[in-house]
Structures are given as structure tokens and as C-alpha cells.
Amino acid sequence: MKQAPTNISRRNFLKITSLAGGGVLFGFELLANVAPEAAANAALFAPNAYLSIDANGIITLMAPNPEIGQGIKTSLPMLLAEELDVDWNKVVITQAAFDKEKYGNQSAGGSGAIKGRYEPIRKAGAVARQMLIAAAAQTWGVPEAECATENGFVIHKTSGKKLSYGELSTKSASMPVPENVTLKDPKDFKIIGKRIKNIDNKNILTGKPLFGIDTRREGMLYCMVSRPPAFGKKLRSFDDTEARKIPGVKNVVRTETVVAVLATNTWAAKKGRDALKVEWEDAGKLESTTEHIAAFKNLIQQKSEKPDRNDGDAEKALASAKKVLESIYEVPVLSHAPMEPINFFADVRDGKADLYGPTQVPGRAITDVAKALGIAEANITLGLPRQGGGFGRKLRSDNVVEAALISAAAKAPIQMLWTREDDMQGDFYRPNSMFKYKAAINNNNELDGWHLTAVALGGRPAAVDNFPAGALANYRVDGHSLQSNIQTGPWRAPTHNAVGFAEQSFLDEIAHELKKDPIDFRLELLERAKNNAAGKVNYDIEKFKGVINQVRQMSNWDKKTPGRFKGFAAYYSFSTYVAEVAEISIVNGKPKVHKVYAAVNCGQVVNLSGAENQVQGAIVDGLAHAWYTELTFDKGTVQQKNFNTYKMMRIQDAPLDVEVQFVATNDKPTGLGEPALPPIAAVVCNAIFAATGKRIRKLPFGKELNA
């Protein structure tokens, strides 16, 4: 058992309250990525997670972060329950609403929730447990050291006396907060690291109203909105005569930018919206993907003003190389396309706003709504339902602000819903990007120079410190960002989702050129980074080698099976190491992915079932988008408007199995929602090369293969 330093006091960590009917409420602060000084500042203290134990022994945990499918509503409470030492099956979990007065940071993004909260939430559980022990010890008149806990009871070890947490709860509220608490030794974990099922399974599988789109309130009107049909267009005027004739349509309102139709059901609202006669006017350039690609091709031949990273002299290495390999890789624009279409409920009346719906950034949404409506943040409440996928789409508050403005204009409670077509035209897209790689092979037949020039539509084009940076004496990255009025933003594993494909495919090309096994080649480079580091090395070499060796073993990499072909890639992102192998065959010219193997080092696994599901899902997600999906623009208008042309993978093309192994470790947990995605496109494309000799340098690969 280890003593964890706590810095705990009522002032800076806990807010303890007696419950009215008996029992205790522990409110505690869980701030990720906040400087310790700020967290210790009593003035900033605002609990954002709660644990209550009532007199009947009902233990309720409030999960503070939005649940978007990453499993946080299950895994965060697991941490608390572990240290509190309670029976998982007897714990009630509820989703915390957002309240700026009471809660702190509640966002979902950057694979950070578990990473940032692993220790604080466990400490909170341990503190509560210690105070329950203190209450029992005082009741029995025995030293605390003679007491232990088990499954929701405090036990006096020598006499065998027992009191439940429920019986002790009221008294525990008056106990002193311990100076130090002891966190469990990982070998004693009963909940952390085990397979725990998603706590909402039953509700999901019986169709309970869990999601924002399921919101039904008294007097609520259903709302569909007419938005600009192209980037570069804006609203000029509209005629709602025909729309108002549709039975069920109750009102038509406009905000500065859009026209909204309100009706008694969604279908009437949609028919009304479609019957509007709206005039749009040019407000900017009407851009097309073909122009962007032409600009990319030009930029990619140019150095940037200042290289993003420049170790040694890559140009010299290339000039004196025995051989130079050069390849250009390209990935398309993607939409987030969460299955639950964009929606939000808003009731804005009398200077107050009641909001409910899907967002990954509740804090920012409240700030933005307050500004848009000109009301105080204190007059806004925001509830967080379960969310039908995020993938980064809900990191902007556009849907919340739009719903609030429409409700304010209509002076009525509304549920705004976007159609899939609305979402395809109104997203913040994964930018398309292009990567030109040059590799210098010297006279010893070694890779000793690397020059990447990357360009993306807005945003950051390259992950500059990626391996093989650190292994190569001469390494240079130039990046360009092409400005556009087509809005781009973070999409699951931002930047990495494109770079992973390009860089890991190019490494495979080099290994092939050098006639080296792709895994041996990676390991050699890592050995070089270890013995002869060039510049900053931002990854842990042993952890990287660990997952690579593990996937080699689990996939039987070195065993050749007739008709089956394997591809490999490894990638480090969000502090997590992932190595993957895919085994494929080619059936009628089309790849069939039989199995994917993944070795993952994400530190301590919290929920084995949830963690495995995230890795399997990220692999399928990455493969699906590499295979099928592509968005293009023509004069500011998206050309793929729904799933008939924006193709999503179905079960028939998904791997039959994805085997996941986690490196056994008790290191602090790192990110897991994203890191398994970046390598998979290259893994499968490298396998396609092994099978066919065709190198895929442009996604989606289904289009390249005509399959």
C-alpha cells in the first residue's frame, strides 16, 4: 500500500454537506490540466463531481463529463467506487448537468478525461472511505487502524463488528478530512482493470429517451432551419407564404443568418422548411476542391518561411544521397457525421435560457449563448444527455447558439434538428491535406535524411515531432496552411488521422526499398534514436518497442500463410503507443480484412471492456474512412450530401475480428479514445501493397482500387 500525498482540506478539495434526510454528500473538484496552484486556490474551488451516501446506503455517483460514446459515464465512477470500496452493482450513476456556479471543466475531447482524472477521483474515493472509517471507529471507541472496509461496510477486524456506509453516512459528514489517504495497491484492485459493462446498456437496448434528440417538453415546437447552401453565401431575404400553408406549421422566424420553421412535428417542420423561398447572396469566394488541390500541388513544392523542425541538414543529405525516394500522399476532406444528427433543445424566455442537448464543450456553449443573447451566464442552465457520437463535431457550440437564438426569436421552447444533408453542408470538416516526403538513402544503404513538406486546408498540417524524428540526423518538416472559408476543425485524432496514413505508408516504402522487414526496420530506427538521438525525442523508446514486439508476436508476423498478406504500422499519439497488424486477402480485386491485431500501451486500463471497445471501434472507424469516405466541394457546396454518396462502411467490410492486447502496466492511464485510429489506414494499405504490389498514396483507397 502506498501513501498518496493529498493536500486535502475542506478548503481546497472537498465540500461536505449533510443530506436533509440523513446521509452525506461529498462534492469534489476534478480539474484536468490545471496548474496545482490554481487548483489549490480556495477562491476557485467549485466541485464538479459528487458522491452521495444516503442513510439507506444508496450510493450515487455523478459522472461529470459528457458521454459521447467514449465510456466515461462508466469508467470515471469505477475509479471512485474502487477506492471507496463498494460493490459496483449497488452504485447508482447519474449524469451531472452543467451549472457554471457549481461545476468546473466538463469537456470531452483530446482523449483527456481519464488521463486527467485518474488520481484526483481515486483520492476523492479514498477520502470518503477514510471518513467513513473514522465515523465507525468513533462509534465503537476503537482506533481507526483496527478498522477495514469491504463492499460498502466498515469492519472492526478484532471484534468482527460491522456497520454499513449508509448507517455511517450522517456521522461521517462531521469527521475531520484526513491529511493523507492511502490509495489501493493496483494488485488489490477489484473494479479497475476489470470488464465492466456500459452502465446505460439496458436503457439503450430498450429504447429509453437518453439522447438530446429524444427531448420532449410541454409546449415544445419542432424546428427545421434553412441555412446557406454554400460557403460564401448568406441570407438576403425569404418568402414564407407557402411554408405557412403546411398543416402543422406554427411559426417562421429568422435570425441574422438563418430562417427557422416551427411546427407540431418534425415532418411538418421539414416540409415547411422545404417550402420556403429563400434568396441567398454572395458573401465571399465560392471555393472548389479542385482549386484547393491545385494550390496544394503548388505549395508543396515550396519551403515554409521557417521549418517546423530542422535537425541536421536534410537538404544536404538528400543532395549527396545514393538514392532519393520521393512520394506524395493525399487525404480528402471528411465529415464527422455522428449518427445522432445535430440538435438542441432551447427555451429562451424572460431573460433566461434552459438548454439541453449534445455538446462536447458545455462551458464554452454557455459563454457563447450568453454573448449571443446578451444575458448573464447565471441565467443559463445546460443539461447534458447521452450523445450519439462526437468525433470532434460537438467541440464547437454552433448548434447550441443557433437553437438559443431561434427560441429567443420565437419566444417558445423549441427542438432544433438538422437533417443529415444540413450536417454535411454545415460541418467543421477534417481538412484535406497533402504530404510530400523525401528520403535520403546513403552509400551504406541506410536512411539518413528525411524531408516532409505538408499542406492542409486550414489548421496544422503535420505532427512535427513524430517518429522517425529523433532517429535521423537530418530531418526537416515544412508546413503550409491553405486559408479557406470552408470551415475545418478537429476530427478524431486531429492531424494524426492524416499523418498516420502518409508517414507509416512511406516508412513501409523505405523498408521495401532497403529490402528490410518493416518491423525490423522500425526497431532499427528506434535503436538509433536510443543510442544516437538527433534532436528532441518526444516518445519513450522502450514503450514504442514494447508494443511493436508484442504485435509481432500476437499476429504471428513472421509466419507466412499462402493467400494471406500482412501489413504493419505503429503510432504514438495522446501519450499512448499503438502497434497494429492487419491480415488480408484479395477477393475479386477487393481487399478482405480477416483480422486486425493491436498492441496498446495506455498505462493502467480502467475498464477492460470499454477500453477494448474503444480500440476496436477506432480501428474500424479509421479503416472505414480510409476505404470509402470523401467529401468534395463545388463552388462552396458539398457534393456528397448523405450516406448514399458519402459512403460509410457496413459490417460486411469490417474485420471479422480485432484482437486487442494491452501492455500490463500500472503506469498512470493515458488517452484511449483516439490513438488506435491513426495507424490503421497505413496498416491495411501496407497489406494491400504486400498482396498486390500496388502502393496506395491517396485515400479513399476503395476508389484507387476501384473496390
Partner: protein, 154 residues
Amino acid sequence: MASYTITVNNQKRTVDVLPDTPLLWVLRDELNLVGTKFGCGIAQCGACTVLMNDNAIRSCSYPVSAVGTNKITTIEGLSENGDHPVQQAWDEMDVAQCGYCQSGQVMAATALLKRKPNPTDEDINAAMSNICRCGTYVRIRKAVHLAAEKAAGK
């Protein structure tokens, strides 16, 4: 507006809507059966899948005026206690991530198992065309096989 009486989850329900209203919006907005989901509106994604008699249909593209006397079953009516073999299998395999598409997946699997109590992987590929954006297909496949075993009493 026109009045329609349809049988949903073994109950007769009467609604007054536009004749071309898709069954999806009748279920969600008029009958408050929100377990059936909207995903694309063009019969592509399958989030809106319900049973008509024993067959899976995409309710977003099925007008209420065409339902007639056919019996509609939604996720809410699949079993009284949420313990249909498919629901049990989905829970045991811990399939869901965001969970949004899963009611449609469950209804599609239910229809498949009614036709083919012991489906092969190829049968699953052919019948299950619902989109899962989270990528839970590996577990969906395992859950369909598990549900088949459960229904057979194995």
C-alpha cells in the same frame, strides 16, 4: 391532415398527420416512442429500423399511409422486460459505444434471426446493412451469433 389507426407494439394507435409522414416521425413525435432513431432520412443508415410483421423496414422512408393493418414492433415493444435474446446478447457482449444506432441494429438482427435462426457470417453480412459510426461491428457480429445460441436454448 388525415387520421390513421396503426398497430404498434400490439396496441392500436390513432394519429392525425399529413399522409406522407414517414412512420419514423409518427413513432417519435406523435406516439413518443423515441427509441427508433433518425439518422439519414433516406433508408441508408438503418437507425430507424422497426419490424413490420416479421420483416425489418426503414421507418424513415415508409409513409404512415402505407402501414395499413400490418403490425409494427419497435425497440420498446421487443420484449416486456428488455430480455429478448437479442437484447441479452447485446448486453453480454457490451456492444454499445454511443448507443445511438443500436436499437436499429437490434431490430435488424431480430428480423434476421426470425428468418435464419442460425445465421452464418455471410448471412449477417447480407442482412445487417445498418451503419454504426462508432465501429462496433466486431461485437455486433459476435452478439448476433450469441443471440442465435440463446434463442436456441444453448
